[in-house]
Amino acid sequence: MAFDKSEVEKVAQLARLHMSEAETAEVASRITDILALIDQMQSIDTDGVEPLAHPLDVTQPLREDKVTEIDRRDELQTLAPATEDGLYLVPKVIE
């Protein structure tokens, strides 16, 4: 299946990636090739096969409801591009 420019734009929007005009064409052709590789698996009949999400056949462990974390705000906010009054700053969020 050909992955055309409009698909690239749609998927790039979902993934929040900016694609220039030139990149869009390049990416479309690369992804078309990758999809051709992926589509090889369509050749096999998998009706009735149980999907495998996880290689280990085990179940989720449960944690006791205890507070184990301490406040490290000041230290952790040194990692951030922009903070003020203990808040992370981002360009205006419009509701």
Partner: protein, 487 residues
């Protein structure tokens, strides 16, 4: 001294033939003289390494005899290391100083290993050549025009060039085993869930697994004794006691049943590589093993299924890189949308973006069943193939890679690059342990033999690999590094 295995160094340190500080200085010197050429390390922690070395020497003087106490190690830059820049090979994290230790890092700290630095890697572990790193490609010590393999290429090159005694790596589709094969060293991917993933930056959560990159199977066993075990911080980490991985190394291989998958000796495999593997197999026969051809009928679909599952998981795992709480943020975003898009487009390299796109597409409305669900079903079939095989054989052996290391830039086509992992990927999809060890080189370039075991049969695999290495010397071959100011 620096060319020794970790096991040998452990003995030398115990015998006080050398101090950890002397050893650490020797490695740091070697790094200073070779890293510029090989680009194996992104970050070198010279000062803290010497401090740790002195502390290890003190501990030893006080009676501590932990096997890896004072042995210098390098961690792949995918493991969060408290207070140390942890980049994952990406511009996105070029300035990220991790505020916590990965469990793997913590375990090696507790064992007294000395951290020399953080090794280069394909960006977010996405690559098979170490050419996608934001910090530039790593060179193969055997031939600096060639790639060391990837994504743990920095760790592989560092071990091969004696820039450390041992290193950690991670393997999502072959990222420990293929660079080990290309670089002529030993690389071990444990079963999924054997080693904690806490603090290991996620690429594809259901496939990622940490493991040793080192100079021998015995070293891998020593490292596994430190790395393996249950971790309550990782829900997917197996709650099964870890073995003493050195305990069974000397077991006889008499009666070992080896399966040779027809599909791993088919079209695409270089004749020279095949010959090296077949010669190695006859070595096993001498040790009392029997060899039998087996079928892994769905192996050819493993790359297809992998390139749905891994990008899909990655597309979500990499959504957190948004320029809000840490890492790269674009300059002067005009609005929120602009901040997201430019941060992510400027912070990620092409291969990462490609995989995010593929994964996003595979999960998007209308395509989920045809791609993601289908791939999960194929994954089941691939696992079933192995389950069936292990009813008749103890280990499965084949080549790690279809050929030896290729030259930088030789594989510009992503699909060609993806097919590099044709023999290793199925093992990740099935969650099995696999090891690559050196066999006879081809035209001066290393060749890796791939040994796969049943789930949690780590000890068996290490035993098989160790016995081979006891009776052969391929793992002792060292590269002669040319082109720089190498020794």
């Amino acid at each position: 001294m620096i060319e020794k295995t970790a096991a040998e160094l452990s003995a030398s340190l115990a015998a006080r033939e050398v101090s950890s500080e002397e050893l650490t200085r020797a490695y740091l010197d070697r790094i200073s003289s070779l890293n510029e050429q090989l680009n194996a390390y992104i970050t070198v922690c010279a000062e803290s390494a010497l401090e740790q070395a002195r502390s290890a020497d003190e501990k030893r003087a006080a009676g501590d005899s932990s096997p890896l106490l004072g042995v210098p190690i390098a961690h792949k830059d995918i493991f969060c290391t408290n207070g140390v820049t942890t980049t994952c090979g990406s511009r996105m994290l070029h300035n990220f100083v991790a505020p916590y230790d990965a469990t793997v890092v913590e375990n090696f700290n507790k064992a007294g290993a000395v951290l020399l630095g953080k090794t280069n890697m394909d960006e977010f572990a996405m690559g098979s050549s170490n050419e996608t790193s934001y910090f530039g490609p790593v060179r193969n010590p055997w031939d600096t025009k060639r790639v060391p393999g990837g994504s743990s290429g920095g760790s592989a090159a560092a071990v091969a060039a004696d820039l450390c005694a041992m290193a950690t790596g991670t393997d999502t589709g072959g990222s420990i085993r293929q660079p080990a094969a290309f670089s002529g060293i030993t690389g071990f991917k444990p079963s999924y869930g054997r080693v904690s993933r806490w603090g290991m930056i996620a690429f594809a959560s259901s496939l990622d697994q940490a493991g040793p990159i080192c100079k021998s199977a015995e070293d891998a066993a020593l490292m596994m004794n430190v790395m393996a075990g249950h971790d309550p911080k990782d829900s997917t980490c197996a709650n099964i006691p870890a073995d003493d991985y050195t305990a069974g190394l000397e077991n006889s291989l008499s009666g070992l049943r080896i399966g040779i998958p027809k599909q791993h000796f088919a079209e695409g495999l270089s004749a020279d590589v095949e010959q090296s593997i077949r010669d190695a197999l006859s070595e096993f026969e001498k040790l009392g093993a029997t060899i039998k051809e087996i079928e892994l009928p769905n192996n050819h679909l493993s790359v297809s299924a992998y390139y749905v599952v891994a990008p899909a998981e990655a597309s979500a795992n990499l959504s957190r890189y948004d320029g809000v709480r840490y890492g790269y943020r674009c300059e002067d975003p005009v609005d929120l949308e602009d901040m997201y898009k430019r941060t992510r487009s400027e912070g990620f390299g092409d291969e990462v973006k490609r995989r995010i796109m593929v994964g996003t597409y595979a999960l998007s409305a209308g395509f989920y069943d045809a791609y993601y669900r289908k791939a999960q079903k194929v994954r089941r079939l691939i696992k079933n193939d192995f389950d069936l095989a292990f009813k008749d054989v103890d280990v499965v052996i084949g080549p790690t890679s279809p050929h030896t290391a290729f030259e930088l830039g030789a594989k510009s086509d992503p699909v060609a690059m993806y097919l590099e992992d044709i023999y290793t990927i199925a093992v990740n999809l099935a969650g099995l342990p696999g090891i690559s060890i050196p066999v006879a080189p081809v035209a001066g370039l290393p060749v890796g033999m791939h040994i796969v075991g049943d789930v949690f049969a780590e000890s068996k695999l290490l035993n098989v690999a160790h016995q081979f290495q006891k009776h052969t010397d391929w793992h002792k071959l060292k590269p002669v590094i040319t082109g720089g100011e190498a020794s």
